[in-house]
């Protein structure tokens, strides 16, 4: 064995919960991710275990996502979401037609995954992460509290709170401290290394140029981590290993035999006929039942029916090709380095299954192939690599992110820069008010805690990201605006001693992230 492959999956969604509405379209982001990504991935990891195939993987689980996965209302709605899809496939199968085989496939898939969720995971996705973490197959790492772009946060104390809460949230779930952290969008700038060190984080991951442009430039490039003066290890994303999966043009997910993401069956069905499966107001939204293949560079009306067997053949080929390329890469590197090289391949978890339908099967096959056929490469978690090679080059990582362009323009540009003066201002108010209100009564305490939650939710990088990429723009603007305004409303009410308790109750139900939050975390050390 000559070197290591570290697959790193970053699992994140913004906190979206709307108890005030019976059906809320943006809540489907979570349900789609569970049904299409988290469950198929966990299901395949459990399969590997049953087949005695060893595998190692590192996964982040961000606080907004874990808080949603533990929310009773959202999980209740998830069950409704899955059941309605099972019912819809049953109805459509009755009608027969050329797509019947694919519909049967979908029904069986939904039922299998739901059964896995209910019985094996006991209705809690996080149980799957816990089990694999305990068994040592999976290393779960945390993330900053609300996926904030920390280099765009002016207040050092709030940068610290983001890290502290990410760690505390992890402790609440896993009963121990995380070794690693995923920085929201891999965004790095000093003094983040100092902060990570202060709170006991051992490592994080940056895009390749975070290491290539480090001071001094590392000898091994991205094939060994570096360590900052503060003692935190930084791994770099391998561009080659990422590109084969990420790239829409050259990557595997674009193969013509794979399932077409953009053609959902719901848009071809008569609204009246499927009215019980769509939004009560009559809106159609993705059902997740997508029965066509990419086919080629053709319009949606020219897409051919999905052939599952053919897609599975391609998965086999692509997994083999990915392993072959990593072997060649590692073989070469192993001759010119004094240690076994590591190839770090980080991806958004939702790429596997949600965007690239066959992605979870690709990983399953890849792990299986590496175990059975490779004498060159082995999978590893990031902390295991540090255990094996604790001697690292001292270097200061470069300011960077993994967003388009490699820095911060995705979140800071003409359409989003209005956000940051508000974040600065409400952040300053938060840091001030915790010292101003001495001995608060119960309602004031609740209001101060809610103030903290509204600030943290306003700091989510997701709103700026969605505005920039032009997806769900209205919703993102509304959420950004709401959290800033809600903060200011409660802030003024606390100062004027006229807290609107009904509104506070309402927010506690809706923006219920971090139930354990204590506003004192914002108190600055003197």
């Amino acid at each position: 064995m000559k070197g290591y492959l570290a697959i790193v999956l970053h699992s994140h969604l913004p906190f979206v919960k709307h108890p005030e509405e019976e059906f809320f379209i943006e809540e489907n982001w979570l349900f789609e991710a569970i049904l299409e990504s988290y469950l198929p991935l966990l299901y395949n990891f459990y399969r590997l275990k049953k087949e005695d195939i060893p595998f190692k993987i590192t996964m982040s689980l961000t606080p907004p996502l874990s808080n949603m996965l533990l929310d009773a209302l959202l999980m209740d709605r998830f069950k409704r979401y899955v059941n309605s899809r099972i019912e819809l496939t049953k109805e459509l199968i009755k009608e027969g037609g050329s797509a019947k085989e694919n519909l049967i496939f979908y029904r069986a898939r939904f039922e299998t995954l739901f059964n896995f969720f209910e019985n094996e995971l006991k209705g809690n996705v996080i149980n799957g992460f816990k089990k694999l973490e305990q068994d040592g197959d999976l290393e779960v790492i945390t993330c900053s509290a609300t996926h904030e772009i920390l280099p765009l946060e002016v207040h050092r104390k709030i940068q610290e709170v983001q890290v502290q809460l990410g760690i505390e949230n992890y402790r609440q779930i896993f009963g121990k401290d995380p070794k690693g952290i995923w920085l929201g969008e891999c965004a790095y700038a000093p003094p983040i290394s100092q902060i990570l060190s202060k709170y006991g984080i051992k490592y994080t991951i940056l895009d390749a140029h975070g290491l290539f442009n480090a001071k001094p430039a590392p000898l091994y490039g991205i094939h060994a981590p570096i360590v900052s003066e503060d003692g935190v290890a930084f791994f770099g994303r391998d561009p080659e290993a990422s590109k084969q999966v990420w790239s829409a043009k050259e990557g595997y997910p674009g193969d013509f035999n794979y399932r077409e993401f953009y053609k959902d069956i719901v848009y071809e069905l008569d609204s009246e006929k499927i009215k019980t499966y769509i939004h009560p107001a009559g809106f159609k939204f993705d059902s997740g039942i997508k029965i066509h293949r990419i086919t080629g560079h053709v319009g949606l009306d020219k897409k051919e029916l999905y052939n599952r067997n053919k897609a599975e053949e391609m998965v086999e080929i692509h997994a083999g090709n990915y392993m072959f390329n990593r072997e060649r890469q590692i073989e070469y590197l192993s001759h010119i380095m004094d240690r076994k090289p590591i190839v770090v391949a980080p991806f958004d978890t939702e790429l596997f299954g949600h965007w690239w339908f066959e992605g979870p099967d690709f990983l399953y096959k890849l792990f299986k192939k590496i175990h059975k056929d490779s004498s060159v490469v082995k999978t590893i978690t990031l902390s295991q690599y540090l255990e094996e090679y604790p001697v690292l080059q001292v270097s200061s990582p470069a300011i960077s992110s993994w967003g388009d362009g490699g820095y911060f323009k995705v979140w800071l540009n003409d359409s989003t820069d209005w956000i940051y003066p508000h974040l600065y201002t409400i952040g300053k108010k938060m840091l001030g008010i915790v010292n101003k209100i001495k001995n608060p009564n119960e309602i004031q305490k609740r209001a101060l805690n809610m103030l903290g939650r509204e600030l943290l939710l306003a700091e989510s990088s997701d709103w700026a990201f969605l505005i920039t990429v032009g997806t769900a723009v209205s919703y993102a603007k509304e959420r950004q605006t709401f959290h800033i305004n809600a903060f200011n409303k409660i802030y003024n009410e606390i100062l004027n001693n006229n807290i609107d308790e009904t509104f506070l109750d309402y927010l506690e139900q809706r923006d219920s992230i971090f139930p354990f939050l204590n506003y004192n975390i914002f108190t600055e050390e003197r």
């Binding site: 005030e20 790239s247 958004d348």
Partner: protein, 196 residues
């Protein structure tokens, strides 16, 4: 409320649960609808508040401030607001590594700008006014480091992260490694961030 009529009793019970309606399991469909409507009233009021809070936000914070944020190599973003000053025009002075580099006349009360600065420098700005021929600083910003694409060579030192001791380590072929890194940097630049 029309939508409630369309829902099955089982679904109405679930909604009733959200509103904390007692005895919901014993209620008939019409009773459930009545109870939900009643429970929704305060929610309707809250939704009006929410509607307002999610739509109206001025670009101004109405708080005096001056902030700098790093955007990309060679660029920082500056945003400011000054309350309670009569002067209309102010001066923004840009410092790189604590040295004054240039100044820009600006509207004093409010403004935003993307400023071109040198990569890899510590940048901060000051906002002030000319008074009796003297510059009076009103606000000082935070300091940021400007992102850079430059490479920095330097001493190669290794440290054991378990013992914190410095250690001697070496590579087998520095020239070969350099070639690998150059190839990978090229690939990294080609990757288009493709998440939607």
């Amino acid at each position: 409320m029309e939508e409630l009529q369309k829902l099955k009793r089982k679904e109405l019970i679930r909604i009733a649960k959200i509103y904390g309606i007692k005895n919901r399991n014993k209620m008939k469909k019409n009773e459930l609808i009545r109870a939900i409507k009643k429970a929704r009233k305060p929610i309707e009021e809250l939704r009006k508040t929410e509607e307002k809070l999610k739509r109206e936000l001025s670009k101004k914070t109405e708080e005096t401030h001056l902030i700098v944020l790093p955007k990309e190599p060679g660029y920082v973003y500056v945003n400011w607001e000054v309350k309670g000053k009569e002067e209309k025009v102010g001066t923004l002075i840009v410092f790189e590594d604590d040295k004054e580099k240039f100044s820009i006349p600006v509207n004093l009360d409010y403004g935003r700008s993307y400023i071109h600065v040198e990569e890899d420098k510590k940048v901060k700005v000051e906002l002030g006014v000319e008074k009796n021929g003297k510059f009076e600083t009103l606000l000082e910003s935070n300091e940021v480091i400007v992102p850079t694409t430059k490479k920095t060579e330097g001493r190669k030192e290794f440290r054991d992260i378990k013992t914190f001791k410095m250690r001697k380590e070496g590579i087998i072929s520095e020239e070969e490694i350099k070639k690998v890194v150059e190839g990978e940097e090229k690939t990294a630049k080609e990757i288009k961030y493709s998440r939607e």
